[in-house]
């Protein structure tokens, strides 16, 4: 079985691994990979095609959108018609304020 970087995969998957779950998760992943390894190795690459799907495009008709207030009602935090999240540029702004090159 090829070695894998559990932290690298977790980072790609945007998941946090707690210290007390690491060992179990590595073991579980090894077992799942062992299942995947049961596919025979002498296989020519082939495309995975979903049949019966056409590539027809629809007309550019303007349809009424879902009401913004309804969508915002599902947002965990919102303000003045926007979804609020943790500040993205906080570190950049702080660095600029103390004169560092951004």
């Amino acid at each position: 079985m090829k070695e894998f970087d559990i932290d690298g995969i977790a980072s790609l998957a945007h998941l946090e691994i707690q210290p007390d779950e690491r060992e179990r998760l590595v073991r579980d992943m090894e077992r799942m990979i062992a299942l995947a390894d049961r596919m025979k190795s002498e296989r020519r690459e082939q495309k995975h095609e979903i049949t019966h799907v056409s590539a027809d495009l629809r007309e550019d008709d303007i349809l009424p959108p879902i009401d913004r207030d309804i969508l915002l009602s599902q947002a965990p935090e919102s303000e003045n018609g926007y979804i609020s999240v943790t500040r993205v540029l906080k570190e950049e702004i702080e660095r600029k304020e103390i004169g560092e090159t951004v």
Binding site: K2, E16, Q18, M32, A36, H48, I50, I66, I70
Partner: protein, 478 residues
């Protein structure tokens, strides 16, 4: 009224038309039974009693006006909680969506509404449809009405339990690797997984987009055909939905002369003794009805299981990327950056099985692994499809167990998460090939636990499944 709750959809439709009782009386009787039984059975996550009563009243008014109407008018049903229902909580049995209220209906839901069917509530499932026992639900436990110490199967366990416990006339589930057929088998019901693209997936919370299908769980074959007629057909909102518009009439003929049936050798040998015995008995019944039965081989069935878990996990890792705590769903409290907001929300919102599959899927698509896993799995899919095509050159329909065993005990300790994956061996090959398949409750083991027999047909041949199913299963004659 309670004694009438076990009747089929067709029986209810006839009685409603004859005004033996009203849809309102029937709906209230189901709601009362849910109130009484569901604390124990745990089929439902959300019961929408007020809406159900209002819709039942409307159905009665429509019926009173006279004129043509659907057989589904006023019939109470349940829907798996990964089907979006406007203004009705839809959770996918996950903490991530515990309080999510969709602003739209899934197409299958709106089509059933247009037929006048009455939604009783949303049923329990494995979280994000990932599982084979409904035990990974973050919200409640579902028990098998046939034996409450056992699982109802998964991932559509709640949908199956609701029908089996007379808490709904029929239910909708979703089937990615067997998640309608297996719970139907475990609970003694008929479960259809239609051809991929037969039924719109718009509004079905996606697990694996190339494998997901909306399926139907009923007490008999005829009911199943009625529901498929109502929900199938092209949908502009689902680019993968097929243009075909077929009807699924069952003519009640039980003459199967000329029918060529193939028992899949590898799937039969994967089953335990009681299940194998039921398949052999079913083969004898088919012969008695005039069919010829031979054995066929699907040597890639073991690889099919591996390929299924690689492809479904890979697609799940992409589909579940949208759950990030930003626009909807659970948002973690403790975070110092957007990255932490996303990672912590996902880590708190998802259960262990979902996280495992996202991790496997992410690995299968990552540099250094994609060739070995994802692309190889795609090649296996083509091999499995070829295997089925070759079998359908000499057979019209294929026969196998739906699951290798009967329902297993609830709460079994499993140190290896892949142990339970092996129970999908019988359903996964037809899943990855996109073929339609039905599970029929054709036997019981020595303890009275239901055994499901699976029929697999070529693509878009659901009518053949229904014809043979109705001939085999007496319940289909009602």
């Amino acid at each position: 009224m309670k004694e009438l709750l076990g009747r089929s959809l067709c029986e209810h439709a006839v009685s409603l038309d004859k005004k033996e009782y009203s849809s309102l009386e029937l709906t209230r009787a189901f709601l009362e039974n849910i109130e009484e039984s569901d604390r124990e059975i745990g089929a439902y996550i959300t019961v929408c009693a007020e809406k159900a009563v209002s819709d039942a009243k409307r159905a009665d008014s429509i019926r009173k006006e006279g004129g043509e109407h659907s057989a589904l008018l006023g019939i109470p049903f349940a829907a798996k909680d990964n089907l979006c229902t406007k203004n009705i909580r839809t959770t996918a049995a996950s903490r991530m969506l515990e309080n999510y209220i969709p602003p739209y209906d899934a197409t299958v839901i709106s089509r059933l509404y247009s037929h006048g069917a009455v939604l009783l509530g949303k049923t329990n499932m494995d979280e994000f449809a990932m599982g084979s026992s409904t035990e990974s639900s973050a919200l409640r436990t579902t028990k098998n009405p046939a034996d409450t110490s056992r699982v109802a199967g998964g991932s559509s366990g709640g949908s199956a339990a609701a029908v089996a416990a007379n808490e709904a006339v029929f239910s909708l589930g979703s089937d990615t690797g067997g998640s309608v057929r297996q719970p139907a088998a475990f609970c003694g019901l008929v479960g259809l997984c239609p051809t991929y693209s037969r039924v719109s997936r718009y509004g079905l919370i996606a697990f694996a987009s190339s494998l997901d299908r909306v399926g139907i769980i009923t007490k008999n074959v005829r009911d199943n055909a009625l529901v498929l007629g109502a929900i199938s057909g092209h949908d502009e909102l689902d680019a993968t939905s097929n243009e075909r518009r077929d009807s699924f009439d069952i003519d009640g003929q039980s003459d199967l002369r000329g029918l060529r049936v193939g028992i899949i050798r590898e799937l039969l040998s994967a089953a335990d003794e009681s299940v194998r015995g039921c398949i052999i008995d079913s083969a004898e019944r088919l012969k008695a009805l005039g069919a010829t039965v031979t054995e066929v081989s699907l040597p890639s069935s073991d690889e099919a299981l591996s390929a299924y878990y690689v492809i479904s996990s890979a697609e799940a890792s992409a589909n579940l990327a949208r759950f990030d705590g930003v626009r909807y769903g659970l948002r973690a409290e403790d975070r110092n950056s957007v990255d932490e907001l996303i990672c912590r929300s996902r880590s708190e919102g998802f259960g262990d099985e979902v996280k495992r599959r996202i991790m496997l899927g992410t690995l299968a698509l990552s540099k250094g692994f994609v060739q070995q896993y994802y692309k190889r799995a795609c090649a296996v899919v083509q091999t499995v499809k070829r295997g089925f095509s070759e079998s359908f050159e000499i057979c019209d329909i294929l026969l196998s167990p739906t699951a290798p065993t009967v329902a297993f005990p609830l709460g079994e300790e499993r140190n290896d998460p892949t142990e339970i994956y092996a129970s999908d061996i019988c359903t996964v090959p037809s899943s990855i090939a996109g073929l339609p398949a039905i599970s029929l409750p054709l036997g019981e083991d020595a303890y009275g636990l239901p055994i499901g027999v699976q029929l697999i047909a070529p693509e878009f041949c659901e009518s053949l499944l229904y014809k043979v199913g109705a001939a085999l299963y007496d319940g289909g004659a009602k």
